[in-house]
Every structure is written in structure tokens, then in C-alpha cells.
Symmetry: C2
Subunit: 272 residues, 2 copies
């Protein structure tokens, strides 16, 4: 998917919501456990109930991988279901992969070709030749970790490197990579005050923003500081939506939560 | 596996060789492509031919993941084969995972429980709460990326952060993590001169060293600067061993290359 197609979808749906699929067998409604593939059935119901409110879905790969071959099958079914039924939706493999050249190309092929995701989250530590292989695929995107919303982000990301925070160095250095127009960035919403600084370095790029809701980030503060001419934001909510209910009506409960977020986003978009 | 069991195996085999399984369908001998699972058949033959010379095997997860569900099945068969037939051998999932709390625990369960690896490579960018979940598993190890052997390592790892190179900050900070005695580190062999500095920070830890051979690192220089009382090194070779031959005798060709490395290691161990 091109960035312009993503922007068009945002304007059409009046939403920049991404729904995170962090599906845990211990948390999904009990009646689904009788299905042959409970994880896929859960995802399918959530997607069907929210597809007109969300512009992106983000399966968290760890939650599939933890179930081995069976989990990988559930992942394949989930992404195929999205691509077959809702081809306009932007798909994100939240995999946080990061390895060099040859190996990075293998990961890129796994997620861009075998699974046909539009994008994948990527870790920056190994530098250019661990990121650029993901940027060689037309209409595909690497979403690079910049500033995350967890406690450990302060271990390295905010420390000064060559006179500025490491996450800023990551933004600047990666902006020189080949095909950097296919880069997006992960920026945690718990640090809304950082968005102004970040926009000075990467005014054009889309930002994937976790941490609104469950992790305490404020949607309005993020939008005020982080939005650009093309919106430029994908706000992710995972648990707050998918585990809104735990009964047979879990999908409609999820829709309620997604709708509330979409309506907030519509107000923000219309006030531009 | 405990660190002591790894050390015992090193002393017994007079080897600290790790064989990297980066198995590419385009590179394996043509006759294997007729097998039901060519990747597993290739791995099985390489393992059988080298198990007395190597103390560790390191499947590169990208090379399995790129084949989707089928690749994940080959990975499962490979690790099961190792654990069933050579339980004394140390196994490394070269996955370079890195995500926060809950998600990291899922990755840890995928590799330590479902697949029963002894260890996994982990990326440090997200800090403590992305690494510590991997350290909660008894007799399991997280091998943290410190200084890698690729060009992109100079993008961030060697830059000064708080007055010292980022990779040194990673070594120091991670040494304060809970259960840090279960940490090992990836240190590339192309930078043998760094090993002296690294040993000042982490004298006790095992180092997984890629880059000997194909990437140009020098075994003797690495050992001189990096070895400790418990040896403390696992030297990885992937392509140099597994693609030594391309005919029906590929496994014996691989053995020849592994034997040459093991004999070099034996000389170094006996000269201590």
C-alpha cells in the first residue's frame, strides 16, 4: 500500500485508529476455546466488528509465535482474512525484527511476500544494513523503533549520544538510508512533549503511536504536537479495544471502544 | 542448560565452536530438494556430521520464518532432533527479538518452552523490561546484542553515549538487570581490538562471536583478548561450514571445515 492510499483511507473513514491484535488464549471469551482455531475466530470477529472504524490492524507476532506452528497458522489465516476481505486496510506485522543484510531480507520476505503485510516494525540497533533491506520492497514500509513507551526506553533511547538523545540520532541517521520515504517510526504516546522535537527532524513521516489508553497517553496532546499535513499518525489501541468485553458480545463491546476513539479522532480531524 | 554444563562440554570436546544453521533452499545441494522437508534433512545431515566437533548450534530464525508455516515446522523438527539426539549440545535461537514485558514473555515462551532452546539472541534498544522477561527462565540464557560485526554497527553502537560507546553502556546497564548471570553477549569478531575493553566490563560472561571466517575475523586475536577462565567464548561459523560442499558429500565437506576450526581451538585451549 502506498502512503497516499493510507492517507486517503484516513480521510474517508475519519479515523487514524490502528487496532492491535495481541491475542491471548487466557483472555479471550471462553466460548471461543471450543473453535478449531480460537485465535483466528477471535481476530475475525474483532476485525468484522471494527473494520469501518480502523485504518490499520497490527498483529503482535509474539502472541502467535508463542503457540509455535499452530500460532503461525493462525497468523497466516488472520492476514489472509484481512487482505481478502478488507484490502484497503493497512496491515502492520509488529515483529520488531532486526538483523543484517541477508537475514533481514529473509525477514522482509517472510512478512512482505509470504504473509503479504504492508509493513513491519523494525529495531534500529544494528544500523543501516539491518534496516535498508526492508526498504527495498515497493509499496511496503518499515516502521522503525524510535522512542518507545516503556520504562526501559530510558535505559538507552533518551541518553545523549553525540550531543543529542539516541532516539533523535536514530531519526536523523535513518533519514539518510536508501528509500527512506518507505520509513515510518514507532513513537510512544506517553511522551507527548517529545512529538514537537520529533516533527522538527521527520516532518513528513508517519508515526505509529502505541500507549494511548492502557499505557496512559493522551490522544489530544499527541495530535496537537504530532499531526502533520497528511495526518501522519496511526494511534494504536490493543487491549483497550479487543478485551473490552469477555462474553459472547465481546465483538460489539470492542466496537463500542473503537467507535469512541474514532469519534474523538473525527472531532480532531474536522477541527484542522 | 547451565553455564557450567556448557563449560564442561567445551573442555570435553576441546572446542568452542558454534555452527550457524542459515539454511537457504537456493544454496543446499540439489538432491535434497526432492525430500519432503529439505531444510530439516540438510540440518540433520550437518548436525550428524559435526556434533562431536561443535558445542552449540544456532539456527537463524529468519531462514525458517521466510518459508512461513512450513519453515516453522522445519525449525521445530530441527530443534527437536538436536534435543532428542544430542541433549548435551547448547542451542541458540538466533532470533534477535526485542519487545516489552508481556510480549517479551511470549517470545521467551515460544523459544524456551514450545521449541525448548537453551538460549535466544535479544536486541537491547528497548531496555530493561524488554530483556529481563527472558532472564526469568531457569537454566535459559538471553544473548544480548552488544557490538555486531556489520557495517551498520557504526551507526549507533560505537557512538559515544554519556561519555562512552553505546555498546559499553549496553554492557554496563544490562549487568544491573535482574538475573544478569543468565546474560551472554553477541560481540563481532571483526573488531578483535575491542575484546580487551569488553572483558573489563563483563569478565565472566560468555560471548557469542560471529564473523570468524566469512566476515574476516581472526580466531587467535579474538581468543587472546576475549578468553576468560571458563573459556567464555562461542565462536560461530555458518556459511563457511554448512556450504563447504554442494554435492552429495556436503556433510563430510562441512565436517572437514568444522574439524579444521576445532583443531585450531584445541591448540588454543591446550596452550592456556
Amino acid at each position: 500500500m502506498t502512503t497516499q492510499e493510507l492517507v486517503d483511507q484516513i480521510e474517508k473513514k475519519k479515523s487514524f485508529l490502528c487496532v492491535g491484535l495481541d491475542v491471548d488464549l487466557e483472555k479471550i471469551p471462553a466460548h471461543l476455546l471450543e473453535a478449531e482455531d480460537p485465535i483466528f475466530e477471535f481476530n475475525k470477529a474483532i476485525i468484522d466488528a471494527t473494520h469501518d472504524l480502523a485504518v490499520a490492524y497490527k498483529p503482535n507476532i509474539a502472541f502467535f509465535e508463542t503457540y509455535g506452528v499452530k500460532g503461525w497458522e493462525s497468523l497466516k489465516k488472520t492476514i489472509d482474512y484481512l487482505n481478502d476481505n478488507y484490502p484497503d486496510i493497512f496491515t502492520i506485522a509488529d515483529a520488531k525484527r532486526g538483523d543484517i543484510g541477508n537475514t533481514a531480507t529473509r525477514y522482509a520476505k517472510a512478512f512482505f511476500e509470504d504473509l503479504a503485510f504492508d509493513s513491519i516494525t523494525v529495531a534500529p540497533y544494528m544500523g543501516s544494513d539491518s534496516v535498508e533491506p526492508f526498504l527495498e520492497f515497493e509499496d511496503k514500509h518499515a516502521i522503525l523503533l524510535a522512542l518507545t513507551s516503556n520504562k526501559g526506553a530510558f535505559d538507552f533511547q533518551t541518553n545523549e549520544i553525540d550531543g543529542e538523545a539516541l532516539y533523535k540520532k536514530v531519526l536523523k541517521t535513518s533519514s539518510t538510508y536508501q528509500n527512506n520515504d518507505r520509513l515510518m517510526y514507532v513513537v510512544g504516546a506517553t511522551k507527548a512533549e517529545y512529538f514537537t522535537e520529533i516533527r522538527k527532524i521527520i516532518p513528513e513521516s508517519f508515526l505509529l503511536v502505541p500507549g494511548v489508553g492502557a499505557q496512559g497517553g493522551d490522544l489530544h496532546a499527541v495530535c496537537k504536537n504530532g499531526m502533520n499535513d497528511q495526518v501522519g499518525l496511526l494511534i494504536n489501541s490493543s487491549r483497550g479495544i479487543i478485551y473490552a468485553g469477555n462474553g459472547t458480545d465481546f465483538a460489539s463491546k470492542a466496537r463500542e471502544k473503537a467507535l469512541a476513539l474514532q469519534q474523538d479522532m473525527q472531532v480532531i480531524l474536522e477541527a484542522r
